[in-house]
Amino acid sequence: MESRSRHFKANAAASLANPVLQTNLKTAKGKFVDKRAIAIKEIDDFEGSREAAKNIRNRVLENLDLWLEKFEESATARGATVLWAKDGEEICRHVAEIGQRHGVQKAAKSKSMLSEEANLNLALTAAGIRPIETDLGEYILQINDNEPPSHIIAPVVHKSLDEVADLFHQVHKTPRKTEIPALTREAREVLREHFLTADMGISGGNFLVAETGSVALVTNEGNGRMVTTLPRVHVVITGIEKVVPTLEDLTLLLRLLPRSATGQSISNYVSVLTGVKTPEERDGPEHLYFILVDNGRADVVGTEFQDMLRCIRCGACMNHCPVYQTIGGHAYGWVYPGPMGSVLTPLYTGLENAIDLPQAATLCNQCGVVCPVMIPLPELLRRLREKQVEKHLRPWFERFALKIWAKVAASPSLYALGSWLGVRYLKWLAGGRDRIAVLSAAPEWTLGRDFPAPEGKTFRELYRKGKK
């Protein structure tokens, strides 16, 4: 997917000016945040479970190559083919080749963020394969002229019921429906046909299990099961970091993932899929492929950003992020929004291509405290800021302002003079009022609020006078 992260500020301004989006964001926030808060209470030692999950993910990342080899060995032994993709282009090439090999004309997809990274639907269409998104949210986006998702687990969270009703009416050419059950029924009727006629199923993978060569999938609509069992060919596309050692490790992560994501104790469908259909089995694909994708991940292993690879894509960080809640996912400009996206986008697409994202956070650490695998997101964002400074990527006036502040704060006499002048200037600007309406030294502040006026003298002046 082509990144629009460079235009973060303009994207965010558009989001703020969109009243429908603002209403939709408020509705969504309440659901996710409140439900998670209730669901995590079901686990006796939630904090201990986070710690254990973190350790499982760290154990994998410390020897990622070995666990991947182990996975490849186990999966191959069960009749699957494991392929490796360096980047999005290679994902597209692999899938197109598999499609051609098996004479595929239609591919039914369950949700895969990797396919968003690769812009897979476009490539499939070019290769003569018709991709059909079957996750309800992704389906809505596909029929809306391939709109990108705005959330990693709730891709149409930015849309209202009314907007979906209009879309279905226009695209399906059916009478406009306004009840959710009627709309989902309509989508099911359309999708059922595709499930039965697709030659290939494409899914993501929530986890890969090294000891068994399995992929674990959690979905709420059951479409994942249709996609992975009905068509002759099943292609799993996941990042290389998604591997876990054992089924037992998987069980812990499966306790944390749905609770953190949607506030569910368990997702409606949990599938652990292993190998191709054997002669004794009636269901399942004849051909199973795993495409394990790097696309920037391997470069993060062993760096100060490795903690980010623990991510299990629950979306809790964005659900709890004051910035995400205010501007929605599209503003971030690439596949992954919110705090995790603000770390991943610069790492995967280049620091210089997402210059605003690490800065677009208040560092409130709400994300860090809800992350089920304890990724220190604010700390990683801060380190990215440090990288930007090291590489001289910040604008000149910011660098200048920081240099001045560092110099002044390092010298008590300069600081005393600077603060003496500063408060008098601000007091003069306020012109006798208790606030300043336009602050030219920091114009962004007064775009949407006033700047309270200072008292008029510094503490150090007053304190020294009082002591004399």
Binding site: Q359, N365, A406, A409, V423, P452
Partner: protein, 241 residues
């Protein structure tokens, strides 16, 4: 107890009365208070902007200035967090300095935490009267565990009625330099905080970090609210009728 006050640059510039209120509270708790004269900024803005070298220089300056004081008290959760939790990280590659940072970390307290858990203050100097709602500033709350301490102090004042707001623990949108880099987003987040605070009907919004308070007050006034007061916890605890 001998306490050195770290005033913080925002208090120094914008609201000296918070510094004096902090001194009054510490003295009421039986402390001898000094204010080291050379102090400036804890370095949080440069650290959060990614300038490690400048942050390290300021950290060393603070460490030197507060040598020998029994306790260092800060009327700001985020500045206290910078000194206690970030200095050892900033100076991780310089073992001697790191050791000094860790030693200082053991003596640094946020004001309300110190008053409640170290000084065990009995009687407050103020007699504020009115309804208040308390905004939990992010770094104080999640970095320093400041939650019950300010409420315990407010509970000692018979004239105070605490009306908790919805989402008190959510960010007000300040975020230090975030507020001047992404002003519109920052102000939009502040509007939600103001909405939650005002919905309680409290006359005064109280908090422990001046940055958040300036953000909230600025947004209230821009929204046309001329009546809701915004005060630092130290001001409330020392306010005279």
């Amino acid at each position: 107890m001998r306490v050195a006050l770290f005033v913080t640059c925002l208090v120094d510039l914008m609201r000296p009365r918070i510094g004096f209120a902090a001194i009054e509270l510490l003295e009421a708790a039986g402390c001898d208070v000094i204010v080291p004269a050379g102090q400036t900024c804890c370095g949080q803005p440069v650290w959060n902007s990614g300038d490690r070298a400048a942050a390290a220089a300021l950290a060393k300056k603070v460490i030197d200035e507060f040598v020998g004081s029994e306790y260092v008290v800060v009327p700001s959760g985020s500045c206290a967090d910078q000194i206690r939790n970030e200095y050892p990280v900033i100076l991780a590659d310089e073992p001697e300095w790191r050791a000094r940072a860790v030693e200082l970390a053991g003596r640094v307290y946020e004001l309300t935490d110190f008053l409640v858990n170290v000084a065990h203050i009995k009687t407050l100097p103020g007699n504020f009267s009115g309804s208040v709602t308390y905004h939990d500033s992010c770094t104080g709350l999640r970095g320093m565990g400041i939650k019950e301490q300010p409420r315990a102090l407010l509970a000692k004042m018979s004239g105070v009625e605490l009306k908790e707001m919805a989402a008190a623990e959510e960010c007000c949108g300040f975020g230090g330099t975030f507020s001047v880099k992404f002003g519109e987003i920052s102000a939009a987040i502040a509007a939600k905080k103001c909405g939650n605070a005002c919905a309680t009907g409290a006359q005064t919004i109280v908090g422990g970090d001046l940055g958040c308070l300036l953000n909230i007050e600025g947004k209230l006034r821009r929204l046309g609210d001329e009546t809701t007061q915004v005060r630092h916890i130290a001001e409330v605890l020392t306010a005279k009728k």
